[in-house]
Symmetry: C2
Subunit: 764 residues, 2 copies
Amino acid sequence: MNNTSLIGQSIRRVDAFEKVTGSAIFGADVRLPNMLHGAFHRSTLPHAKIVDIDVSKAQAVPGVKAVITGKQCSFRHGGMVQDEPFIAIDKVRYAGEAVAGILACDYETAREAAELIKVEYEPLPYVDDVLKALETDAPLIHEGMAGYPHSTTLIEKTNIAHFNRVCRGDVETGFAAADLIEENWFAMPMIQHATTEAHTAIAKYDPSGKLCVWTPAQSPFNVRAELARSLGKSLNQVRIINTRVGGAFGSKHEMAAEPWAVALAAYANCRPVKVVMTRQEVFVNSVVRGATKIWMKTGVKKDGRIVAQQMKTYFDTGAYCGWAPAIARNSSYAAAGPYVVPNVDIETYCVYTNKPHRGAYRGFGFAEVAWGHETQMDIVAHKLGIDPLQMRLLNCLEDGKVSITGETMFSVGLKDSLEAAAKAIGWGSKSDTNSGKGIACFSKMTGTPSSSSSVIKLNEDGTVTIFQSLVDMGQGSETIHTQIVAEELGIPIDAIQIADVDTEYTPYERSTTSSRGTFHTGNAVRNAAIDIRNQLLQAVQKKWQIAVERIEATDGEISEIGGEKRSVAIADLWGKGFLKHPIIGRGVFSTNDIYRPVDPQTGQSKRPTAFWMWGAQAAEVEVDPETGRIEITKIVSANDAGRVINLLTANQQLEGGVVMGVGSVFEELVLKDGLAVNANLHDYKVPTSMDVPQEVVPILIERTHCEGPYGAKGIGEGALAPTAPAIANAVYDATGVRIKELPLSMENVFNSIRKEESSKRHSR
Amino acid sequence: MNNTSLIGQSIRRVDAFEKVTGSAIFGADVRLPNMLHGAFHRSTLPHAKIVDIDVSKAQAVPGVKAVITGKQCSFRHGGMVQDEPFIAIDKVRYAGEAVAGILACDYETAREAAELIKVEYEPLPYVDDVLKALETDAPLIHEGMAGYPHSTTLIEKTNIAHFNRVCRGDVETGFAAADLIEENWFAMPMIQHATTEAHTAIAKYDPSGKLCVWTPAQSPFNVRAELARSLGKSLNQVRIINTRVGGAFGSKHEMAAEPWAVALAAYANCRPVKVVMTRQEVFVNSVVRGATKIWMKTGVKKDGRIVAQQMKTYFDTGAYCGWAPAIARNSSYAAAGPYVVPNVDIETYCVYTNKPHRGAYRGFGFAEVAWGHETQMDIVAHKLGIDPLQMRLLNCLEDGKVSITGETMFSVGLKDSLEAAAKAIGWGSKSDTNSGKGIACFSKMTGTPSSSSSVIKLNEDGTVTIFQSLVDMGQGSETIHTQIVAEELGIPIDAIQIADVDTEYTPYERSTTSSRGTFHTGNAVRNAAIDIRNQLLQAVQKKWQIAVERIEATDGEISEIGGEKRSVAIADLWGKGFLKHPIIGRGVFSTNDIYRPVDPQTGQSKRPTAFWMWGAQAAEVEVDPETGRIEITKIVSANDAGRVINLLTANQQLEGGVVMGVGSVFEELVLKDGLAVNANLHDYKVPTSMDVPQEVVPILIERTHCEGPYGAKGIGEGALAPTAPAIANAVYDATGVRIKELPLSMENVFNSIRKEESSKRHSR
């Protein structure tokens, strides 16, 4: 171990150089010999039977190699329900769904031919609202749903893809004891990740039938498993070569361009086929954060103590499921907020509609429920005349308190986060007219159980190469892992290299999701490094004939502690004969043993997650009552990192989360007649440097976790979740107007202010 | 373990499909985006000072990006002596040496520009004979030789790149006790491997300075180490991606096209640079089996027992060393043949000349010394009137006998090989006029000490991927390793995949040389598979709560032996929760511990090699005395495999060795004024289907080796070594003409017969 620990220091990203010089290879950069290109003809109707597809004109375009429809490609895929055809079969379920694919010599030709496809449809009634989709006469989106291989609690002959319940205590008893009962609906629109890099895949079969796919996947082992399952192949017949990822945020966890490229590759005579989604396709055909509606009924005592929470949450999954059932289910375990709630009853629905399909989006459902519970908390506090901060501190989970799933909590940095955020925003000091402050907090679990693995190779010259399959998509995981290995082996950062992720070569990793990287893969990499260190120490102690406890790895050397104070450079171990054979380190980390299965009826579990994320956000805004324009002057994001590994990148995670959170407050992917009308970066407004808060203050709380590497937990998603309610609560503080439906567009705020003024006038 | 063992069965090559369908990627198949191409201007003189290089015309050719000479590239490389410049610096040392490299948009442009280079030389005296190069007034090829980093016993101010001696007993005492002393010179010309695939390399720097080279390398870790050392980089800053190898036989162990591609890549602004050698360059600029001269003085008793062997062997290494010092040194440990020799004195010289440089060639020097000792043995036998087979059986090494280095031998399958070969050729039966039979035998060590390593990944569906870095260049090692893993895990061949070799991703391997693969890498792969099996058995026994000894892996399942006879498919272990985390197997094998260093003064060692190869060859020929044409009617090759792993590929190794051995009997790379005159496949005659023996009979002897996997040793090189003396001895049997100098060209045989006839006439 180093005398001067690297843990907690600010280390420059190890991938900075290749990113800055432009030498990093992203999906669209992949160019292979004899490569063909694909483009897709997509439906214009949200729900319709396909009567006929006329491909003749497309096929006649010079350079077109093949036109593929659902007739030539009958595979389906899907993380939890295998509901989604690679190319629409028989009917389309959302506007924009792929109906025919063109395989051509270049992209322009493919695009031109795609426009020439003529599809005859028989329109079907469609549904674009999650509550309407639950009505008994709603059009059925998947008729033979139960026939799909699936791992959800889908309900046949309905649009319900998933349902689950979390209950504890008795809500009726709770409400009976309450001094105040507050009931509200909250809503959020469909938004999209808007990653810089479009979703891309290059697929190639070799003559033996082995499939290779180059893709900026977030979770390549998930893509490998899904493709193998869909195609009926063994896992070693599918290889995913990961390219660099230009932003993912959940949208590249499941497949998007991959099934398109694979469908075409089957007709490409073993030539590679490249598919780069257009921006419109990224918006509509990858995944979205679907619309969400939440009903909450809260019972509180006069002193602010929560006695009951009843909720129904409705997750719109769009036309297909993906991993949305897990989004709905997992968020239900914290849907009532990070509070002690003795009586709780939460029903969670994941529902099909004729819309683009829902996938993971930074926060995986927990940002959605936070919009509900943190706005509700504010409403209740104000009604009780209690300071919203005090209301949260009174109810919040702490070490030793019991969660709504029955877990006794530990390593809870929530109170510290709330207090730190409040202090930094100047909580309690008087705001100017039209300006206000808001606070919100959250908790989030990480996907559990799961496993990670790592192999480390010690080269003959003492440099090392790390193998692992967590994907660095900007979060800085490669830097974290390099730091961990440098720490354990006592060698410099630049002696360490991290190999590109490739399912054929790098070891199993469940996914790059759920803020799980540092905790899980960090542990696996650390274990592999310790395995290397142990082998080095043993090799040296064998030669020196002293106890292994008297040897340490530090400053690039293996040194004797005390005694003759001998030392040998790790770089020389091979040359000087200490090492007689190559050293390979191996590390695995699995949360299978600590996980306690969740009871499917009640949602109860003593340990549903490897760790919880905790954080609080405080926002300061100025609202122009004449226009409805919100200016965010400051946001403080305090998050419990467990233990900070890299100070630089940890702070950047919080800053990035805040900015993306600001986006989630103002963005909306708008459909008209089922068709997306602003699926481009002109009309869909992501925050620019003009829109982000004037001041963002990241605060890192460190409540070490006994199972995390050096005590670390995850902080990738946290800073986003409470951004929307913190801002909306600040808007209320500034204006007295309570907005329960996102986005906080100028129009929405303006109208809300007018409505509030009008109701005040009428109530006079 | 399987009930029905796979070991010894004939298993179809696992790479057969990709080879047959043409989907295998060889060096020249590599096409990368923005790739530039290189070609070289090469010297026309064998030894000359470079006075001036006029690159102006070349530089003016449209499409030429850069012209690089030794002035722009001052790196040197070399396995044992870093003597060879990437591009000639100041002087050229052999005709054909690269003087300037052209970097251009395509190959044709590069080639055209290369022709336009004008070099002004100051010719120097040159030497093209190994004995002349040792004369005191011989031109010095490397003036500042001792200044090169080196690991040989080079002798400054001479052309001696290496010298060593093996001595035991006292030859003078031996000769004094001898009844017959026979003294002869033997010679072999320069030959070349003539691999189907030309030597090729594609080199690319990334902006950080990391170098990636695609190459059909035989020993990619050797290439990595040499490049890193030459360029002053750490090992993880150099990556070698192995392409498929279209024949190597030693010629791709060290670098050939790689330094050329790397020299140009430095000026390519991070674009990849491809260099494919022309056939002429392959002949002259990769490596050759250099000319060799051997002087032997043998003392024998009347009964045929050898009492003394004195030898001087002269290995012509050409202008540069490569690994030739090791060729010379290693062969000296068996230069006196596989016999008990109580008194021995062998001096071995590796000598610079102005010729193409020597490298490994199937047999690594042992074929050369076999030409000496096996011809000498025949001469002596005939002079004593002893049957050549009996003479060999009388003297040959056996278990428990002591070698010339002082090793007590074990696992010696020589006598069995001699007897089997003799029986199959019909030894002792009368031959027709002009037809004759000959026999020869050999022993060969394997490079020791060395290490191999392997990692095996168990996929979630029970399929596995093997990582190792031995290169399958046709010998069938991937099939062997697959078989071993199938055997140890009890899973089918097609559940196993073997990853392509890539120094970044696959674990350390010393080299693919020396017939060492099955023994060394086979052991490493087997250890990794056993490691996987142990983890699987432990996972299952933990769940079943029975002793691990009562569980076995067989037929794709883990099964309980006796008891409840439970079983679970390996494919289901993950899904059914037996496995809670990914399984990674790790295996290393090193001969460091069994190796005993060779005494540098006397060549004595109790264990100089991990194993010895043993074999015998019997040939039957018909010689046309009117033309000198030799028709080989039958060759029997009996080799001690230790234990056969794959019967099919083991037999093919012997057959291939025989055919290449026939080539080594007739081929010669001819120089005129130092310049190769037949460096093409028209004039350099490799054996065609018309030239190979009418009948080749492979015989596999199995004398198991206690340290080999399942008892296996190596058989890659053996069948070649005794081919030449077996044929020459058969020619003697047919004609009474003794030829001591290869090749056995029609001209040589014709002249030898005429000379013999003439001397008989004169002696009448």
